[in-house]
């Protein structure tokens, strides 16, 4: 229940962090909020020769509105985003999803970018990023690249991040005029990881639904001009295609039922909020 020995590095700025990562390579890990990494290291499910602590890099703790996007820096905690007064206006989906991310005692430390980088299939923020088609900003000592969520998220706890890259920021598109958003999830207790989470966006004739907790990564489906009577069939097809499995939290059949029911409820709620 204790981590294996490692060297602790606290860079003074992002460039030092990138150099350290380039130097040590795959044996180094970024330490952000530590709310996923340290449990894994305590259980020895993860180990590292060096931890590079970026949690105190003040220039990376920001929330910035740019052209149509909200950019969130790598040191911004989930609590800071939740307390951002413009959150509900700027991205209603995030505002609805964030209270489900752990507990207020973990959101105080856990970062937004850390959750995206960790890429747990049942986590809420990667689901929002996928559904809204957000972007991930990756930087190494060699340069910067920006990946769409769909390219970044490759599977269970797996991403397209290269070993020498830091997720320096994530970008969520701002709410679209006239669109409605809804987020819902089923978890054993409030704050637990979702057995199934859904994020819906309804805009004009287009309906989009993202599902987390069932497949090995957040999965998004979009329907255009779907007649109301065909929604149940569409959701049923989607639920089967996600290929959920049985585990100690729930059966695959229960998860399919959640996709059908929560999916419909979220789409109806999003439609109500759209104009």
């Amino acid at each position: 229940m204790k981590p294996k020995p490692f060297t602790y590095l606290r860079p003074a700025d992002i460039n030092e962090a990138l150099q350290a990562l380039a130097r040590i390579g795959e044996d180094a890990r970024i330490l952000a909020g530590g709310q996923s990494l340290l449990p894994m290291m305590n259980f020895r499910l993860a180990q590292a020769r060096a931890l590079i602590d970026i949690s105190r890099l003040a220039p990376l703790a920001y929330i910035r509105k740019t052209a149509g996007e909200i950019e969130i820096g790598a040191a911004t905690t989930q609590a800071q985003l939740l307390a951002w007064p413009q959150l509900g206006d700027a991205t209603p989906l995030l505002s609805a999803a964030l209270p489900h991310v752990g507990h207020f005692q973990t959101r105080s430390r856990g970062t937004v970018c850390g959750s995206i980088a960790h890429s747990d299939p049942a986590s809420e923020l990667p689901l929002c990023l996928a559904t809204l088609e957000g972007k991930v900003v990756l930087r190494s000592s060699k340069g910067e690249r920006v990946l769409p969520a769909a390219e970044f998220q490759t599977g269970m706890l797996a991403t397209a991040r290269r070993p020498d890259e830091v997720v320096v920021a994530v970008r969520f598109p701002e709410r679209k005029q006239g669109a409605g958003y809804a987020f819902m999830e089923m978890a054993q207790r409030h704050g637990d990881f979702a057995i199934c989470a859904v994020a819906a966006v309804v805009s004009g004739k287009t309906t989009r639904l993202g599902v987390g907790g069932v497949a090995d990564k957040p999965t998004v489906r979009e329907w255009s001009g779907l007649p109301n009577g065909e929604l149940d069939d569409a959701l049923n097809d989607f639920a089967w295609e996600l290929g959920g499995t049985d585990d100690h939290h729930a059966t695959a059949a229960y998860r399919r039922e959640l996709v059908r029911r929560l999916g419909r409820r979220a789409i109806e709620e999003a439609a109500k909020c759209s104009s």
């Binding site: 003074a12 350290a20 340290l38 449990p39 507990h103 207020f104 973990t106 430390r109 207790r189």
Partner: protein, 166 residues
């Protein structure tokens, strides 16, 4: 860049319950173990060591956090408050602690130090919390004895009496 080598015990200077404190910690030492083993803080209770139970919760720079998911070396230069900071020097309990006692908000007391720290900070930020908000805050803690009813009552009562005193 600060570099603290593995396997070596490094000095960690910080403020513990209002007073300067120092101890030695390897990089891998968790804050929970550091407080208990190096500094004798037996009030830090360790339940799960993966952030779920909340027993080890302390305030770091005034914000509730899991000491089992914090490295001791990360607290250098910061302030840490444990449940010991709540009572007066002479041992007189705080209003919140008294309310816990009145409402039987603890039985074995294993979960209590963590819950008290979360609740104290919660009450500093929210003068008039709803029961729903209290329960949401408590979702970050597991109590195997009480069933939470007394805990919720004690926190709500303290909120009311503090509001009345203002």
């Amino acid at each position: 860049m600060l570099e603290l080598k593995e396997g070596v015990r490094h000095p960690v200077d910080f403020i513990l319950n209002g007073k300067p404190a120092r101890g030695l910690a390897e990089p891998r030492m968790l804050l929970s173990d550091f407080l208990r083993q190096e500094l004798g803080c037996a009030e830090i209770h360790v339940g799960c060591e993966h952030g779920v139970c909340g027993a080890c919760t302390v305030l770091i720079d005034g914000i509730p956090a899991r000491s089992c998911l914090t490295l001791a070396v990360q607290t250098a230069g910061r302030t840490v408050e444990t449940v010991r900071s709540l009572a007066a020097e002479d041992g007189a309990l705080s209003d919140l602690q008294e309310a816990f006692r009145r409402h039987h908000a603890l039985q074995c007391g294993y979960c209590t130090p963590g819950i008290l720290m979360s609740a104290e900070q919660f009450l500093r930020e929210r003068a008039d919390p709803s029961e729903q908000e209290v329960r949401e805050m408590l979702s970050g803690h597991i109590c195997r004895c009480t069933g939470y009813v007394g805990i919720v009552e004690a926190i709500l009562e303290t909120a009311r009496s503090r509001a009345g005193a203002r």
